[in-house]
Symmetry: C2
Subunit: 364 residues, 2 copies
Amino acid sequence: MTPGVRRWDRDPRETIHPVTLRRFTIKDVAERAQVSLKTVSRVINNEAGVQASTRDRVQVAIAELDYQPDPSARSLRSAQSYAIGLMYDNPNPYYVIAVQNGVLSVCRENGYGLQIHPCDSSSPNLARELIAIAQHARLAGVVLAPPMSERNELVKELVDHGISLVRIVSAAADPQDGSACVFVDDRDAAYEITEHLIQLGHSRIGFLWGGKSHGSSWERHKGYEDALRDYGIAYDDALVIEGDYSFDDGFRGARRLLALADRPTAVFGSNDEIAAGVLAAARSSGMNVPYDLSIAGFEDSPFSKQSWPALTTARQATEEIARHAAQRLLQELRENAPKPTSSNEGFSPELVVRGSTAPPRPKA
Amino acid sequence: MTPGVRRWDRDPRETIHPVTLRRFTIKDVAERAQVSLKTVSRVINNEAGVQASTRDRVQVAIAELDYQPDPSARSLRSAQSYAIGLMYDNPNPYYVIAVQNGVLSVCRENGYGLQIHPCDSSSPNLARELIAIAQHARLAGVVLAPPMSERNELVKELVDHGISLVRIVSAAADPQDGSACVFVDDRDAAYEITEHLIQLGHSRIGFLWGGKSHGSSWERHKGYEDALRDYGIAYDDALVIEGDYSFDDGFRGARRLLALADRPTAVFGSNDEIAAGVLAAARSSGMNVPYDLSIAGFEDSPFSKQSWPALTTARQATEEIARHAAQRLLQELRENAPKPTSSNEGFSPELVVRGSTAPPRPKA
């Protein structure tokens, strides 16, 4: 075992013994990784222009020597919080993995561990649970994903308990509510999808809601509503069906829409899972997509490319969004104080047109 | 803030100060959660017969009071390793989420955090990286998923560095190689799938490999091979195509099989992603599944039920398998010594017949 590397089975009291207080310097890291000081500092400050293999070598050396780049990180670690937490409640594995990978990439670049905490956002004592988790695990801070991130009372309670956090929220503009976040403009993208269907010639456009606990569901519905209004198409309650962000609800909702006397010629599912459910429902009733029915989803999940036909959707840079949230969190941890005044970053998903949308058949 | 709950921003030296050495007892937990001592102990020992809501309340109390159920856990925590790590390298989000959820459920029942570590199993200094991660993060132990779990040299190196681990591996029998694992009999299930296709009347059965770095790929191919042999069907190299556990390789492989003069009437994809790729390839060349082509997958991913037609596959209790691996790990951590002699648990995926397989069309 390399000298200086601490074993976790050592006597914990060693940590206050002078000997182990000897800390390795950036020079030790450079020697061990056989690179220049400049390179080490580039890696530490996560600057461009360092080869992946070199970066790996430096990060391994930093980890092996347990080198602490900056004072705040040192204080964080000595307070035993060298991991951040990711809290989410989402049924879509593709979304969850993308968020995890985005946050994780930033954690690794900065020598943090990532603890994952899927939660039941409907739990009555959610706040207590999340606070207990964060404190028990000694988390340095937390990235809060929807829908928890969009419940202001919950967020306030976490902050009041001294938990540093950055939220990922759905919003058409920077909420500027004093709590750091990265916001995603679902409304604008949903408007574009609806507009795309209208411009193809559709006027009977079904809409399938996502779970109402998610701000994104409301924003996507608002975008749909706004586009119809702007193009002078009457909003028809019969074409709008509530449900969750799931394949099954997409399937069920589509069956209801397709059973209508004056059924829609296009359906906008609030995410790709819903749209995949619509696709299965259409196929199961012998319809030819897109000619008998146009279908659009949202999120650009991998399987939206893999269905037949591939789904028209909105590309949401989930991994990049999560990266920004994590970077913002680590920045605030370094500054050791949140900057409520500093403005938040926003993302806009973009329309991706594929084979599942086409003009409606001319009425016989 | 509740008395007794430590804030992570406290002075770390407090941890050796008598005052904070006052530990809460099981009685404190019972009072706080307003349940009987028996109930607390049931929850701690993870026994049945406790309502989920009660269990939650007790776990919150345990976390809030930072109560340490057992001495070894206490020692682990004071050595700052109260989290376990999950290391994996798998392109399938459904598989990864299932493994995470299985391990996580056990972590929560035992007051551990879970740190996730997706890795590049092809990295040259993987061992160094994993060791550095485990030591840097002070992990109490590690659940090692395929394919890393199946590389004996790597496993040995981790163990030699004092890392406690339990592996999830693909094997037809208990490897009994002295390192703890949970093993999955992919070979037997692959045999059943092939047998099912043969019994439907297929003799030209294509096989699409998963990544060869995964033991499961070899086991599934062996099951296919054995079934053909037992039913006296000659093994035809032209029908066996190498690739990865991905939709794209399934699509590409199927295109090659369907281009053969004497093309197969059935295709067995080594996982559901591959099978979904075969389905898309068949549909893109205007074939009617299952009548023109039978397709079988493996793993019973959610989307195997959602494709049209739904996929015949093998149900693999991934979450349950991961739970067992985590339970085994925590058991060994408590006993503070691995039991190489103790036997390992095995799982056998079971055949699930759905709409994607049918008898071949009679030859004209």
